[in-house]
């Protein structure tokens, strides 16, 4: 009786695990991306469009609760205004948000550089 393990099974990537890790990796990046994009004033729909145009698609059921949480944390300010005969809620980075974003970007650049150093030998 053969006991040789099937190499395909051993190296197969667990799709569910991969999705969960991908989401975890994305979660922190989304906050930085949203804060950075809100240097300029946006309402939800245009913010989503502009992020998607730059390659970071985010669905509305993730974006709106995130905006609300960031506003509660004092990183964003918002106001309701009428535009094109429709009421829209406009978001913008608050002064605390600006300072936080600066620190987060420094952290991000540090992490990015470290990852480059770690990955460089394997990519050669």
């Amino acid at each position: 009786m053969s006991t040789t393990a099937n190499p395909t099974n051993e190296t197969a990537v667990d799709a569910q695990l991969l999705e969960s890790l991908r989401l975890e990796l994305r979660r922190g990046c989304l906050v930085v991306a949203v804060l950075a994009q809100l240097h300029e004033e946006h309402y939800g729909y245009t913010l989503r469009k502009s992020l998607a145009d730059k390659g970071l698609a985010i669905d509305e059921s993730t974006l709106y609760p995130l905006l609300r949480r960031l506003e509660t944390q004092g990183l964003l300010t918002s106001e309701w205004r009428e535009e094109d005969k429709r009421n829209k809620r406009f978001y913008r980075l608050s002064p605390i948000g600006e300072a936080t974003l600066t620190q987060l970007l420094a952290e991000w650049r540090g992490l990015n550089a470290s990852l480059h150093n770690i990955l460089a030998p394997t990519e050669r």
């Binding site: 939800g44 709106y64 609300r68 309701w80 429709r86 009421n87 809620r89």
Partner: protein, 334 residues
């Protein structure tokens, strides 16, 4: 348009009152923007089916509302490992306390015939008892988790000193008796069997002067002592085998299970006396009936107490034995 309002109404049911209107207004604005964009792309106004497809893609109302609610858990991830660890340690204790308490109740209240009924009743009560234990510990840990969320408590809990860690426990050495000691034990056991075998012929060996007093009082041992005596001899026989096997190897693999069998036989023999209707019987009509009944009652209580200790001892030994075996298996698996 009515479909969108129905959708928003369904989401609103799950949202907190204070932020409901605001969240729904923003969602409405988003959905209308999407409709406009799609209508512009397709060059025609959207019909009911198009709107339904758009809402379906947007997500189930409950799931959408859930995203706006704060994430709550009864016991958070930082406390959860301690919760599981404590449950693993405490639930067996709850089980033992329950077993001991119920066994005690059983022994001191039931007579032989009622025993099975009481046993089934006690067994049926075990599941609720475990659930209550589990519930109580969950509540305690939920309170701890809540307290941990307070910065002052959290700071206090995180303070610890590595210097105060307990000293290393000495490795438990397996106590192996010497061959001479095992031989001596075997000799003493043989003498003990001889002694027990002589009791029926010479009752004074067990009762001393009491044997004469019993005869004078006109009472003797009840017939229940006959099967008790046989069981006692079987138990001593098993113990003899155990000691002979132990003499050769001294190993616990066979000796320990034999010890459990001997203990079970002892418990069986003891339970015969504990639940017997009569332990001493009148040999002549000279003894007062109420005095005889009260003596039997007192003896019955004494045997039940002894039985309780014997059962507790056996449970404790079984627990230790199986726990150590599980640990060895886990260590081997690693």
């Amino acid at each position: 348009m009515e479909l969108i309002e129905r959708y928003l109404q369904a989401i609103g049911r799950y949202l907190p009152t204070e932020s409901r209107a605001d969240i729904l207004a923003e969602l409405r604005s988003e959905l209308l923007e999407q409709m406009d964009a799609r209508s512009e792309e397709w060059g025609r106004p959207l019909d009911e089916a198009d709107i339904a497809a758009l809402l379906k893609a947007h997500g189930r109302p409950e799931a959408i509302a859930l995203r706006y609610l704060p994430q709550r858990s009864l016991i958070g991830p930082s406390v959860f490992p301690f919760y599981i660890l404590t449950l693993k340690k405490v639930l067996p204790l709850v089980l033992i306390v329950y077993l001991v308490a119920n066994t005690a109740t059983l022994f001191f209240s039931a007579t032989g015939g009622e025993l099975l009924g009481h046993f089934v009743h006690a067994l049926a009560g075990l599941v609720p008892a475990l659930f209550i234990g589990w519930g109580a510990f969950t509540v305690v840990f939920a309170v701890i988790d809540y307290a941990r969320s307070k910065p002052s408590v959290s700071e206090k809990l995180n303070q610890w000193d590595p210097m105060k860690l307990p000293a290393l426990e000495p490795e438990q050495a397996v106590k192996q008796k010497s061959f001479n000691m095992r031989l001596l034990e075997l000799a003493v056991h043989c003498l003990w069997i001889l002694y027990v075998l002589m009791i029926p012929v010479h009752p004074f060996l067990i009762f001393g002067p009491g044997a004469r007093a019993m005869t004078a009082a006109g009472v003797g041992l009840a017939p229940v002592f006959h099967p008790f005596y046989v069981l006692l001899l079987v138990m001593l026989g098993v113990q003899l085998v155990m000691k002979i096997v132990g003499l050769r190897s001294g190993e616990q693999r066979i000796v320990k299970p034999l010890d459990f069998v001997a203990n079970l036989l002892g418990i069986w023999a003891l339970s015969m006396l504990a639940f017997a209707k009569q332990i001493i019987v009148p040999l002549s009509g000279s003894m007062d009936a109420s005095k005889l009944a009260s003596t039997n009652h007192a003896l019955s209580l004494a045997f039940r107490l002894a039985l309780l200790f014997a059962v507790y001892g056996l449970i404790k030994e079984l627990w230790k034995y199986f726990r150590s075996r599980i640990r060895v298996r886990r260590a081997l698996a690693v």
